[in-house]
Symmetry: C2
Subunit: 499 residues, 2 copies
């Protein structure tokens, strides 16, 4: 190996150690840390972020990177991809003044608690000053990073999905508006047909927990390489391919929530557990993009987890655990229940069909924010108008409205579209897999490993060494195509609702 | 403030952030991390330790430190103590070659898993190579650090207790041998009088857990500043005065173990929670020494927690929780049971009276090891001989013998004496407090706060800004005096056994 690449090793090692520590602090902060620890935790995270910043923005890294690019043909496929990733990180960090980066890290480390309090008290004004600060940092950072004339929001979007700018997303969401919005109207007219009152009975938390652990293992979650904890909002944390942590939440009066959350997070976990050993703990050793990640979680949650074939071999087990509540609920009734579509105010509790409208709303709002077409103080009102217009409902208060998502407090603007893109990719993969393997038969036989193995072989193992487009092309000879998503939603709901 | 002290700030900030991250990784590794994560975790910890090493050994730190010492009269009491502490860290780290420090960090991060496996399989040979490596590092490090002619073991001891070298410890343990060893013989002859069979009945784990949380809170544990988790061996982790984590373990057939472990760890936790706000997250923001820490945990566990006065107001609650098992056990019988002395093979399960002999054995072995009088391969045999000689019993295998403690796998040689010193300090504090406050009455009234507040005021708040000797002198006008410990053990056991 070249001495130039070798000389980068110490930076990789340090960067990765700092990244791991920061990620663990975040995980710990969300799942375990005592309430009053947060101020110090924010300081520690800011200091480590500053070290991380310095590690990858120093002159020697730039010089080595340039030299390595000059001799890149001597490197392996993975090494070349690592260089590309390092170049991205360098270009992403280097334009930002160090002090601003550190102040921003401190700001966002503290902001999620302020957001949580504001949300709990349904008081948008409490969150407004910190939100304004975050947005102004994001605008500044975008201006440092972007090319002349490039729109701020496009620069932000690129951080999450390289191949989806506003132009592409506009056309994607246009299709949702044209095809799905009117379709939802037709579907919800028939909602009386579906009785899902079983879901709101009293379900013992400990039993739910046990079932969640069981179903995670059934799907392939490896407890030697991962743990399951609890948090208000389920999420996944990945340190490396032998240390993936997911969380679930349990509600006594909502059986579905815990089950489909764990299936969703297991999808994220399997992606990260499937990263090849030779690239884990390198710059390319994680899922290639947020949309691809969401495609894996939503594939498991919706395409697999809400299908009749999936539940056929295991619904009996669920009935066994909750005899009293489910004995008189047939498999068919259960499947109808878990697929019932009903416009609601919460994104995270939305069904598969109305879900993309929640994303559409956020996308439109973020676009306007970063085009300076609206002011943050008007967000609650705009939020209500959009919900009225697209979903026909209005949240009762800001806690359930504009404050419902944590993302903005983390500075994650441009992130939401990945959720809808993930659903679309999941649908596309689904039609492909149905063609090449007896997909339903596998599910009906409780034989999930050929499905998971296929995903591992064609998606998971590569990490960031392949882009979304490359993964799709190599798998099915076709790039991203949202037609499959529209088709999937229509076919599925036509069947569930028999319309 | 001087610009020299200010210039040190960035080193303090970075050192503290790295220390916090390393501590959190250790905590996580012991309590939650998945099994296969350990190799990467060891690498990450080694890298962060290397950063920590560099932070405090760089030339600028040395120069600033020298300048600050020259102008030290312009600094506050706390700042002066911080400089002293920094000087200690510098002198402790600087003589070690950076590569050796890093390799050693990696070695010990991995060693505890090797030890755990060897212990589980009772296979000393499996642990022997890594133990040899650790010891040879420790000898090397001692030779780098020590003065000409200074004994290795004295150099190690100083890291844990500055004022206790072999000379002082020899005389301390001589007293134990002369006074306590024969006393134990007299006590155990009367063991038939005490029936503690109640302790081995079946105690529901969930109920034990609930009681442990309750008693921690009763003692003053603040759940806004701390958490309680589970681990095989209970321990305390302190990040700062608003983030203290303790663990407990629960055995269905051993009620005592979970209760007294939580009381013990709560003692450690209260010490760290009581550190003053103006010094937490500084170099002096933690307990002043291991012995002082153990004095606090053992004061709570033994002096308070095994007294009749303590249980008088709360034994009814314990009986309420475990009706079936304790209804026919009187308070007097319970107190006799929890104070029964019986030579056993496990240090951590030892009663208060035989406990110091476990330490004596380890002290004598470590002394010989670092004087090159024995070889590591002979440790199992030496262990058995010492146990036979001091406690009259021999462990059945090495897992229960020489492999029972984790300390050596962490490189903690010279640490064990602190446990016995802690008990001795606790006894000394006890006689002092009895003189100045209605100690027993407070306990009997369930009014613990005057006791905890007194400790907070005279011990906890100072952190490392006072030494053990300074704390004792300022509190009671007398330095460390082991006579109190001998007197305490005799008085207590004469009462319990009525001899």
């Amino acid at each position: 190996m070249s001495k130039n690449f070798e000389a980068l090793d110490k930076y990789f090692e340090k960067g990765m150690a700092l990244q791991t520590a920061i990620t663990l602090l975040e995980w710990d902060n969300e799942t375990l840390a005592p309430k009053l620890a947060d101020e110090n935790t924010a300081n520690v995270m800011a200091t480590l972020s500053d070290e991380y910043f310095q590690t990858y923005t120093c002159d020697e890294v730039k010089q080595l990177l340039d030299k390595c690019f000059e001799e890149k043909e001597m490197y392996s496929f993975e090494q070349q991809k690592i260089l590309v990733e390092l170049d991205k990180i360098y270009k992403n960090l280097e334009p930002i003044p160090r002090e601003e980066y550190k102040e921003y890290a401190k700001l966002t480390a503290a902001a999620s608690k302020i957001w949580a309090k504001a949300k709990g008290e349904s008081d948008f004004d409490e969150f407004l000053p910190v939100l304004d600060e975050i947005i102004s940092y994001q605008k500044k950072f975008a201006s440092y990073r972007g090319k002349e004339g490039e729109a701020s929001y496009d620069i932000l979007l690129k951080e999450f999905e390289e191949s989806f700018n506003m132009e592409k997303l506009d056309s994607f969401f246009q299709q949702i508006k044209e095809e799905i919005v009117p379709f939802i109207k037709k579907v919800v007219e028939k909602n009386d047909k579906i009785d899902k009152s079983y879901n709101q009975q009293k379900y013992d938390i400990e039993k739910q927990k046990e079932f969640a652990f069981w179903i995670a293992e059934y799907l392939g979650f490896d407890f030697d390489k991962g743990v399951i904890a609890e948090s208000a909002h389920p999420f996944t944390t990945n340190l490396h391919n032998c240390d993936i942590r997911i969380t679930d939440h349990y509600h006594e009066d909502n059986l579905e929530s815990g089950i489909f959350s764990i299936i969703h997070e297991t999808g994220h976990a399997l992606y990260e557990m499937g990263i090849a050993d030779n690239i884990t703990q390198t710059l390319i050793g994680a899922g290639t993009s947020m949309a691809m990640h969401e495609s894996q979680s939503r594939f498991l949650e919706n395409v697999v987890g809400r299908s009749k074939a999936f539940w056929k071999p295991i619904y009996g087990k669920l009935q066994e655990v909750f005899k009293e509540q489910l004995n008189n609920v047939s498999l068919q009734e259960f499947i109808e229940g878990i697929n019932k579509a009903k416009p609601g105010i919460f994104r995270t509790e939305a069904d598969e069909l109305t879900y993309p409208l929640h994303i559409l709303i956020r996308y439109e709002i973020e676009k306007m924010l970063f085009a300076d077409e609206i002011e943050t103080k008007d967000l609650p009102e705009i939020w209500r108008e959009k919900y009225k217009s697209y979903l026909g409902i209005v949240p009762e208060n800001d806690g359930e409205g504009v404050l419902q998502d944590v993302h903005w407090s983390n500075g994650d603007f441009g992130y939401f579209p990945s959720y809808a893109l993930g659903s679309a990719i999941a649908a596309q993969i689904y039609y492909h897999m149905k063609e090449i393997m007896p997909f339903e038969t596998y599910l009906e036989e409780g034989n999930l490993s050929p499905i998971i193995e296929y995903l591992r072989e064609h998606v998971h193992q590569y990490g960031k060494s392949k882009s979304v487009e490359e993964i799709l092309q190599d798998m099915m000879n076709e790039g991203f195509n949202s037609e499959y998503y529209i088709r999937y939603l229509k076919e599925k709901y036509q069947e569930v609702y028999q319309i």
